[in-house]
Amino acid sequence: MAGVTLRGVRKSFGRIEVIHGVDLEVADGEFVAFVGPSGCGKSTLLRLIAGLEEPSAGDLFIGGVRVNDRPPAARGIAMVFQSYALYPHMTAYQNMAFGLTLSRTDKRTIEERVRAAARLLRIEELLDRKPRDLSGGQRQRVAIGRAIVREPQVFLFDEPLSNLDAGLRVQMRLEIARLKADLRATMIYVTHDQVEAMTLADRIVVLNAGRVEQAGTPLELYHHPRNRFVAGFIGSPAMNALDVVSEGRADGAVRVWLPGGVPLEVPVDGAAPPAGTRLTLGVRPEHVGVTDGGAGLVATVTAVERLGGETHCHVALEDGQRLLVRRDGDRPVTAGERLRLNLRGETAHLFGPDGQRL
């Protein structure tokens, strides 16, 4: 097993640079997820690690060895592709064994490894089938099996679940979590689905426009997003953003005015911006409280979405700013109703004009 280190890795296609200098340390046995919107460079970064693309600058180490000049096959990696990339004319067994049969591994070893992987993935009875006779989830398992038999130091997953339907995705997510525990290998997992990243990863790397916005454990990113991008990307439904005005510092916190003249004190780490600065207040839908009366933000319910277990109330504040409030599933609430919202400074986040957290 081995860790992966990226130092100042850049990648340009022609004159367009898509990866702007990424430094990253993935520990041995760690499960790291790359998340970000389409085109953020997460797949390119994975392909750079795999050796399917060559970095324009920077160094790449796997297990402490610089692998920039090594072909993919000599890097000790295995990759699971989004499209599965199974050979359509070969059976599941042949697909899994193909790489080994050509690298002069003896037949007994190949057979043992394929059977072991099939047992682990519970596809033993499917080994004689061709990909076209397999369901999406089964193909995905064969693709993972093909990676396992190579006994790589590092597993690379490129959006492996995005071609599956919602139910199967949840099931395969649990399977991958189980594999992670069984194999104890280093895994790098690319996804645009923050739920996959949150549930699977030891550490999440949020990428945007070819830069690392933040890297940290799932809960770190959830509780302490470094900037508005991370705050909006991690968590579902997404964090609310309210325009507020700073009134200056008060005891390790910044006092801001909410719409309707309600004050709120939000603890911050950095220096407070001068009074009058326009800031963005981030509050997660699950952290917006509703009070029965008295003080609080006055809001009008504009739409109610009932999901059964929970209810999403879309509300409008007095100045027209919109907010999503997450409430219990059976809470009686109707559109047009007036609510008093209660925000707490400890669960709120303040972002400066540059989008960085204060």
Binding site: I77, M79, S83, H89, G99, L102, S103, R150
Partner: protein, 300 residues
């Protein structure tokens, strides 16, 4: 009663379908069906070009004569040899060109268009063109080969019985390789890039990737291309006729049939030859389709 079983919408659809098919069926019957039926019919008679109204049935006589004519058998042999060699060479060359065109080369759009030119030229024109180039006195081929010292004296390319068939095959290869290349290129471009990346991660040697992945995956398209070319080659006429006339050393079954039908005005006998040619084509098609399918299932 029928109206109860078949819903009226379905009947309307069927009627519309037949209506749409009708013009095509009429044209096919007129230009292909009727001449074919007449040819088969004449093959059992002693009709000549001059006596298409007064003829009598001769049973299988024409066919028996055909089977006893060494010139016919020479034509069959020429045709088969021409077909096997030209299709094999065209497939190999076409595959190579397709693989090159499929690589990400600069200016490959232009290259692709350029490759198509021989295919775009009518066969009679290109045959005539090559006829001049192979001319024994003024031909550029002799000039070049003499110039670089590969031959000591001019060759009669299209007249020499040993050289004529190879020359005809070479011209066919020049003309038809683009067709093969383009059909194969289309198949290559359908192959997902992921497969090749997976093979790279697996560390499979590119040559092995070609034989173990690329070739099996394009085989269905390759089989269709080979079948098309084979049927085309079996009924070859214009190349031989323009390059070497009725010379026995290159005569194909089509040339033989035409010679009897037109030059010797023996419609009955010529029709018998033409009918056998049709049977050979039909047999080749059935053979290729069934063999092709069997092989796809066994290996694929």
């Amino acid at each position: 009663m029928n109206a109860h079983r078949t819903p009226s919408l379905e009947r309307q659809r069927r009627r519309a379908a037949w209506l749409f098919l009708l013009p095509m069926l009429v044209v096919l019957a007129g230009v292909a069906g009727w001449p074919l039926v007449r040819t088969v019919f004449f093959s059992f008679t002693d009709a000549t070009l001059g006596t298409l109204d007064g003829f009598r049935g001769v049973g299988l006589d024409n066919y028996l004569w055909l089977m006893r004519d060494p010139v016919w058998w020479r034509a069959v042999w020429n045709t088969l040899l021409f077909t096997v060699v030209s299709v094999a060479v065209e497939t190999a060359l076409g595959l190579g060109i397709a693989l090159i065109l499929n690589a990400h080369l600069p200016g490959r759009g232009l290259l692709r268009a350029a490759v198509l030119i021989p295919w775009a030229i009518p066969t009679v024109v290109s045959a005539q063109m090559w006829g001049w180039m192979f001319h024994d006195l003024y031909g550029v081929v002799n000039a070049i080969l003499l110039g670089i010292g590969l031959i000591a004296e001019p060759r009669a390319w299209t007249a020499d019985p040993d050289l004529a068939l190879p020359v005809v095959i070479a011209v066919d290869v020049w003309k038809s390789t683009p067709f093969m290349a383009l059909l194969i290129l289309a198949a290559l471009q359908m192959l997902p890039r992921d497969l090749y990346e997976a093979a790279r991660v697996d560390g499979v040697h590119p040559v092995k990737v070609f034989f173990r992945v690329t070739l099996p995956l394009i085989r269905p398209a390759l089989m269709v291309a080979v079948l098309f070319r084979t049927l085309d080659a079996l009924r070859v006429f214009d190349l031989m006729y323009v390059l070497t006339g009725n010379s026995r050393s290159t005569m194909s079954m089509s040339v033989y049939a035409r010679q009897y039908l037109i030059d010797f005005q023996d419609v009955g006998y010529g029709s018998a030859a033409a009918t056998v040619l049709v049977l050979v084509l039909a047999a080749a098609t059935v053979l290729a389709v069934t063999l092709g399918r069997v092989r796809v299932d066994a290996g694929g």
